[in-house]
Amino acid sequence: MNLSSPFIYNDKTTSRVMLLVCSALIPGILVSFYFFGWGTLINLVLCSIYAVSAEAFIMWLRKKPIMKALSDNSALLTGLLIGLSLPPMLPWWMSFVGVWFAIIIAKQLYGGLGFNPFNPAMVGYVLLLISFPVEMTSWLPSHEIAQQHSSFLETLQITFVGVTNDGNNLMSYRMLADGFTMATPLDESKTAFSRGLMTSEIVENSHFFSNANSWFWINISFLIGGLFLLANRVTHWQIPTAMLLSMTMTASVFYLYDDQLFLSPWLHLTMGATMLGAFFIATDPVTAATTPKGRIFYGVLIGFFIIIIRTFGGYPDAVAFSVLLLNIAVPTIDHYTKPKVYGSQKEANLNG
């Protein structure tokens, strides 16, 4: 009934950690904005508002202190991550559904921060992907090759209404100079493979190359953000390293087997949501494995499944699915990677 030691803490707090993660996203956000226009920013702002409002609403329903829950910045982070995963110019009500589902059902219904077994951002994203496959895979091409660029006002109009004053809709902005429409490089390559094209043919296409270039820069900027987190000891090295190495190895196995039927490891690492997934999504502390060895297994398996699902599965990108799949496995992974407790072997280590 007395105060228990210890009486000092280091100055890392949950809200500060979450805020650092949010700020590490900034390079990636800026680069995305450069390549994909106002849609990115609008999505981010909308999703953040939705996330914070959902959390406040639920806290009010649960009769818990609202400001305390919001001040830990976890809802803001979830909103930002979903916002970054959504294609620009996605209708406003779709992102609303996705974010509110993520916060309320995937996080709060389980008990709130720290109690959810599944990554809420990924649950929201997967819900939208499965329910609205067409809209969720309608990415804009990078502004270098797009025929039409949308202004801020036009983007707002498309997001909220669907058409602009001039009568343009989403399709208008997805067209390239020669009338083609293009999706993300991963999506593009999957369609091309199914039509029987070879890898070299795919990557030498100039539009593909330009598009892929934009995604390359986006991934690099998320990598920089991720390294910033590692340097500040917000994230531990195990999960990102294990995931990226495992992706490289798995992709290499396929690529070495036949380099015309599979994408190169380099493309896998620089396309899609790889770096975002490695440093920001898979490392979500609440849903990831916790023991040091367990984190490595977790990262390795996520990387493995990303490549497998990307190559053989029905969807172009697979970060969300792999993460959710491994979230289920976390309790088992943690159980079997328990470190050896001091003094627990029958014979003490007599090797000195």
Partner: protein
């Protein structure tokens, strides 16, 4: 009759399974009702009768027959929780009509007033009182469960039921969420001084 084949196969399969089950139910039959033992393990063995049964084992048997699990004050909230977990029932509040949960107590005979009538000795369900007719009676503190059954029979009302003192040896850390300054004051409550 193509349907004949599956019917024969399934019937055969069902008969084999049934035979195995029947065999197992005879060969591995357990004596008595093991759930009663398990319930009894969770009861505090005070044998006080507050639940309305003459001892803990009868109450355990009653629970196995479906009686409410919230009739044991000495077991308290923790006891109800343990029983609920074992039997997969809902956790309910202690039935106030059976008594209330208090800190543990022991019986203490004021020896000056004892007349040596042995009524309390006969009443004690765990034989925790030492004595004989016309000789001094005294309670063995380590054996006493605090059940209260010795108090009514005593004709001179010389038995007290003080709380067991909290000393630095049996003191427990409080739940961290409950720590507050007022608890620091509550900590030093001392009742009858006992040497345990």
């Amino acid at each position: 009759m193509e349907i004949l084949e599956p019917i024969i196969v399934i019937t055969l399969f069902a008969s084999i399974c049934g035979a195995l089950l029947g065999f197992a139910s005879i060969k591995y039959k357990t004596e008595g009702n093991p759930i009663v033992e398990q319930i009894n393990e969770l009861l505090p063995q005070t044998q006080c009768g507050q639940c309305g049964h003459p001892g803990c084992k009868p109450y355990a048997e009653a629970i196995a027959q479906g009686e409410a699990i919230n009739r044991c004050p000495p077991g308290g909230e923790a006891g109800i929780k343990a029983l609920a977990e074992l039997l997969e029932l809902e956790i309910i509040e202690l039935d106030e009509s059976c008594g209330e949960e208090t800190r543990p107590r022991v019986a203490y005979i004021r020896e000056d007033e004892c007349i040596g009538c042995t009524k309390c000795i006969q009443a004690c369900p765990v034989d925790a009182i030492v004595g004989a007719a016309k000789l001094m009676h005294t309670v063995i503190l380590a054996e006493c469960t605090g059940c209260d059954l010795c108090v009514p029979p005593c004709p001179v009302d010389c038995i007290d039921m003080p709380f067991i003192e909290t000393t630095s040896d049996n003191w427990r850390w409080d739940h961290p969420a409950k720590t507050s300054l007022s608890d620091l004051e509550k900590a030093s409550l001392i009742d009858v001084k006992l040497v345990s």
